[in-house]
């Protein structure tokens, strides 16, 4: 390999500084994004593993036995644990410990800006600090402090709440759980596994700061607050020796641990014998916070190689096209060298080394940006969203992995141009035959009726179909970054916000204490409001540890009439009828997809320990969580529960005074809406950054190709100028040409972005979090508009280039 040849190539590349920097920029962005996303994915995975099962972790339970409809007293609790210990099913797993736990809904009383009392819904845990599922109080983070509760008037407040309400250790708080308020002293600030992902029950998005509270007190403390007898519980935590893997809800065919599933089923059967209450038995996949964070970490791990690969592929395409153009412009030099006897193998290496150097330089820039800005920024953003302390350490294995991906892609991009360069035939080059290609006859026929200017525009744009194809592909990928955010956010907004804003017309959802519904209904009547009773109950599947959330509705209505407080959007089928021989239900689209259930099917479900058959009369759309809708009268018959909450509509301006005294807790629809809006706002900066990145890359890719197209047409355009073609007409021709390219690129980009996002979402949806992407006119229009604008923006650049053309020089070229 000749150093002089390589030096010559380097100088040629240096002459195209703008394009060269665009390529370096794209490699850098790919590496930067890979490191940022990868660090986030790794940090999330190791964070949860550390919390659940690490040395300073909380020892997360392996099996939960939940009583959703009542509370066991001390003897019942002890009896359940002793039965489980004594009648331990035949399993490879050994029981480590069995621990009753009390978890109750309640309220926390804070003050609003005007100093008035503001109750917020809460969940209180009575934790006998034993061996399982302890409060997590990491010493390395400022987000946690103090100690665990030891006395019955002490509480550890969740860090999310303490931060939002600016409560510190030693402060006192006023809380309730159905029976009057009590004051507790905050002795610690920490986290709990069920609320690491800090969302209210049934919600898929983190609660807005100050709208939801959780706290962890001693079991005596919570019993006193709720006026329950000592030893009461409504949850049994079972810890097994070791940490068994569990069935991942996102996979349908594979059960990652059938042994654990069998154990869950055996304990469920055992509970049927031990206790009358309908219970729900599940493994870690049934704990929403655990499952969602696991799925999120898994999604991020799956995603970052794609993100890196996608951006590096764009860089690869740009390198490929730029090198091809370079070879074309250097064809005569290469032909001279070949004529002088320079062997093929001496020509090739330079064109392979060039992309490697570009890749290496881009990678160094990307590594520095990723390590010092991207990864810490991404983790800090994630920390802000989920409110968990995340330790950042540079993962050099990850950095190497990302750089290797990027380098392989840029190397591949250089191979074909290098091969083409080494195989140029000197004679053909000298005769100019390597450039002359007979235009497509078919295209000529198609455009023959058009004015010659238009025909020329179309034909010269399509002269290099591979280049145009690759460019549109790269633009499509960059639009995937931009469009995915656009399509996803719009769809999520429709699903999450639309679900509550448009489909639900209640103002307050209140939980009455057992037998206290009438008092709440009376209060609604006095407030001149309306109410509907609602049952929310976990429904199990046969030989499957996944759960659905059942809604027992007083009345059904669709989006057309919206006559009930919760309406459904029917995708297929019809509304169920109450009191049918076989209970009729609706299921959501996600459940239908995951379980393969369809309208008209009769399927078996588990209510507590009992199997029931239900008939699916329709499928609904828009639910993020897996949902099954019953008539309340039917669900009540199956569960023995009249209601779990009361939906209330109130005239505008009605005061909620007194409601907290007669309910276990209540939540406001306006808070739920605020929660989503604040999440969107929080994510806006991140979304805008990714969108901006997508646009910048699209600009770089399009400009690169269009500039190459223009440069290749210098001779043509100079000829036209010499022959007297006015700038205005050439500009007009160029405008229409760029408009056409922009529109086609934009439409292809939008199609690519849409289907890419659909595929992306399909690979990311989980049992716990499902939504679909719908075609959206506004998003499509935005993408087409942006690409068209970028393309048209190059017209003035092209015009400027032509106006600066030295026609005397060009004529010299044309005559030599």
């Amino acid at each position: 390999m000749s150093m002089l040849l390589t030096k010559r190539l380097a100088r040629s590349l240096w002459r195209t500084k703008l394009r060269l920097s665009a390529v370096v920029f794209m490699v850098a962005v790919g590496v930067f994004a890979g490191i940022s996303f990868g660090t986030y994915a790794n940090a999330a995975t190791s964070l949860y593993d550390g919390i659940y099962d690490g040395e300073d972790g909380i020892n997360l339970a392996d099996i939960w036995v939940e009583n959703p409809s009542g509370v066991w007293n001390e003897s019942a609790s002890e009896n359940i644990c002793s039965s489980i210990e004594n009648d331990w099913p035949d399993s490879n797993y050994k029981l480590e410990s069995c621990e009753p736990r009390l978890i109750l809904d309640g309220m926390m009383f804070t003050s609003d800006s005007s100093g008035d009392e503001k109750p917020i819904p809460a969940v209180w845990h009575g934790i006998d600090e034993g061996l399982v599922d302890k409060v997590w109080m990491p010493t390395y983070s400022e987000l946690s402090s103090g100690r665990i509760a030891e006395n019955s008037d002490e509480i550890v407040l969740d860090s999310h709440v303490a931060k939002a309400l600016e409560i510190e250790v030693e402060d006192t708080i006023e809380i309730s759980s159905g029976y009057g308020k009590s004051t507790y002293k905050v002795v610690g600030i920490g986290f709990h596994s069920m609320h690491l992902y800090f969302a209210t029950e049934g919600s898929s998005i983190p609660a807005e700061a100050g709208t939801f509270a959780t706290g962890y007190m001693t079991d005596e403390g919570l019993e006193a607050l709720a006026n329950l007898s000592a030893g009461s519980s409504n949850m049994i935590l079972i810890d097994l020796e070791g940490s068994p893997v569990y069935d991942l809800q996102s996979t349908t065919e594979l059960n990652e641990n059938p042994e654990l599933t069998k154990l869950v089923n055996d304990i469920s059967a055992l509970m049927y014998v031990v206790d009358d209450s309908p219970v729900s038995v599940y493994d870690r996949s049934g704990v929403f916070s655990v499952e969602l964070l696991r799925a999120d970490a898994e999604g991020a791990s799956k995603m970052y190689p794609y993100v890196t690969g996608m951006i590096a592929a764009i860089a690869g395409i740009t390198i490929f096209l730029s090198l091809q153009r370079l070879i074309q412009s250097q064809a005569k030099e290469i032909a001279v060298l070949r004529t002088l006897g320079v062997p093929k193998m001496a020509i090739m290496p330079g064109y392979i080394i060039a992309p490697l150097f570009i890749g290496l330089f881009g990678s160094v820039v990307g590594i520095l940006l990723g390590i010092y800005f991207g990864a810490p920024g991404m983790l800090s953003f994630y920390e802000d969203i989920i409110g968990l302390p995340i330790r950042y350490e540079t993962d050099y294995a990850l950095v190497s992995q990302i750089v290797i991906i990027a380098m392989i892609i840029v190397l591949l991009a250089g191979i074909r141009p290098a091969w083409q360069a080494s195989r140029l035939q000197p004679l053909k080059v000298f005769r100019g035959q390597h450039e002359v290609k007979v235009s497509s006859r078919k295209l000529q026929r198609l455009t023959s009726k058009l004015p010659a200017t238009v025909g020329l525009s179309i034909r010269s744009s399509l002269r290099k179909p591979m280049r145009v194809g690759f460019t549109f592909f790269a633009v499509g990928i960059s639009m995937l970054l931009f469009g995915a955010m656009l399509f996803m956010m719009n769809s999520m907004e429709d699903s999450l916000l639309g679900n509550i804003k448009d489909k639900q017309s209640w103002d307050v959802q209140a939980s009455a204490p057992i037998g206290g519904e009438d008092t709440v209904i009376e209060w609604v009547g006095e407030s001149e409001g309306q109410y509907e009773l609602l049952i929310n109950f976990p429904i199990g599947l046969v030989d499957d540890n996944r759960e659905l959330l059942a809604y027992g509705l007083d009345d059904f209505s669709t989006m057309d009439d919206k006559s009930s407080m919760i309406s459904v959007e029917l995708l297929d089928g019809k509304l169920p009828a109450p009191n049918s021989v076989v209970t009729q239900v609706l299921i959501d689209q996600g459940t239908s997809e995951f379980l393969g259930w369809n309208t008209g099917d009769e399927v078996s479900i588990m209510v507590g320990n009992t199997m029931h058959n239900v008939e699916i009369t329709g499928i609904t759309k828009g639910e993020v969580s897996r949902t099954i809708y019953f008539h309340r009268v039917d669900l009540s018959g199956l569960t023995g529960i009249e209601s779990t909450s009361i939906l209330i509509q109130l005239p505008d301006g009605t005061s909620l005074d007194g409601l907290s005294d007669i309910t276990v807790g209540y939540s406001l629809k306006s808070d739920s809406i605020k929660t989503f809006e604040s999440l969107l706002e929080q994510q806006q900066q991140f979304i805008s950054s990714v969108q901006f990145l997508g646009i910048i890359i699209a600009i770089a890719v399009l400009f690169n190709t269009l500039l190459m197209n223009l440069a290749e047409r210098d001779t043509e355009l100079a000829t036209l100028r010499v022959l007297g073609a006015p700038m205005k007409k050439i500009g007009k021709m160029m405008f229409w040409e760029h408009l056409g390219i922009g529109l086609i690129g934009g439409i292809l980009g939008a199609i690519f972005a849409f289907f890419g996002t659909v595929l992306l979402i399909q690979s990311q949806v989980q049992w716990a979090f499902y939504f679909t992407i719908e075609p959206q006119f506004a998003a499509t229009f935005t993408i087409v508009g942006i690409i068209t604008a970028i393309s048209i923006a190059l017209t003035p650049v092209g015009m400027w280039r032509i106006s600066k053309m030295d026609l005397v020089d060009k004529v010299k070229d044309l005559s030599q």
Binding site: L723, S815, Q816
Partner: protein, 226 residues
């Protein structure tokens, strides 16, 4: 009134080695209908003179009028308009647009110059003997045929003056003769004045006037074949 009047025309270039006087005081009058061949060794100033005449280049000093009007030399668009309205240009390497057929190459120039006239384009192709090749792409016809298309293209907007820079330089002698015959025939039919820059003495046989340049100056100017 002569078609062109050039007086004291100079074109200097500032080079690292000093000022190069590419044209050094050219005085020239050209009458309508003349066929001029500009001869001279390399670097004599032939092409520079042609560029100044075509309003592609701006002379350093001197005057140049065309049909009694000063030729623009400052503003690029005015120079382009002058070319469009008055000048036809034939290149050595034809420079046909490869994506357009023979006919479309001519139509394109008409469209860019103001009006598409397919009948005239076909008439011109007939004039240069290429009526059977109208739908071929340039790469599908011979070099001589391509140059005839280029001539037809340069005539498409009815210029008053046709300029050719080594227009047979890329053709063999037999083809050169054929192209020149076509050019003479076409220019006579259209009543167009021509100036051709060449190294080839043989082209003098098609000229009515032969001008020789050396070192930026006219060294001889004679009427021939009258």
């Amino acid at each position: 009134m002569p078609l062109m009047e050039i007086s004291g025309l100079e074109r200097h270039y500032d080079m690292a080695s000093g000022v190069v006087r590419a044209l050094d005081g050219i005085d020239l009058e050209i009458e309508k209908g003349e066929r001029i061949v500009l001869l001279g060794p390399s670097g004599s100033g032939k092409t520079t003179l042609l560029n100044c005449v075509a309003a592609l280049d701006s002379p350093t000093s001197g005057t140049y009028s065309f049909a009694g009007k000063d030729v623009p030399r400052e503003k690029s668009e005015e120079m382009t308009t002058f070319r469009r309205e008055n000048i036809g240009y034939v290149f050595q390497f034809f420079n046909l647009l490869q994506d357009l057929t023979v006919l479309e190459n001519i139509l394109l120039i008409q469209e860019l110059s103001g009006g598409r006239d397919k009948d005239r384009a076909l008439e011109l192709l007939k004039l240069v003997g290429l009526e059977s090749e109208v739908d071929r792409f340039p790469a599908e016809i011979s070099g001589g045929q391509q140059q005839r298309v280029a001539i037809a293209r340069s005539l498409a907007k009815s210029p008053k003056l046709l300029l050719g820079d080594e227009l047979t330089g890329n053709l063999d002698s037999k083809t050169s003769e054929m192209v020149m015959e076509v050019l003479v025939k076409a220019c006579e039919a259209e009543d167009i004045t021509t100036i051709m820059v060449t190294h080839d003495e043989k082209l003098s046989q098609y000229a009515t006037r032969v001008i020789r340049l050396d070192s930026g100056k006219i060294v001889s100017d004679e009427k021939v074949n009258q």
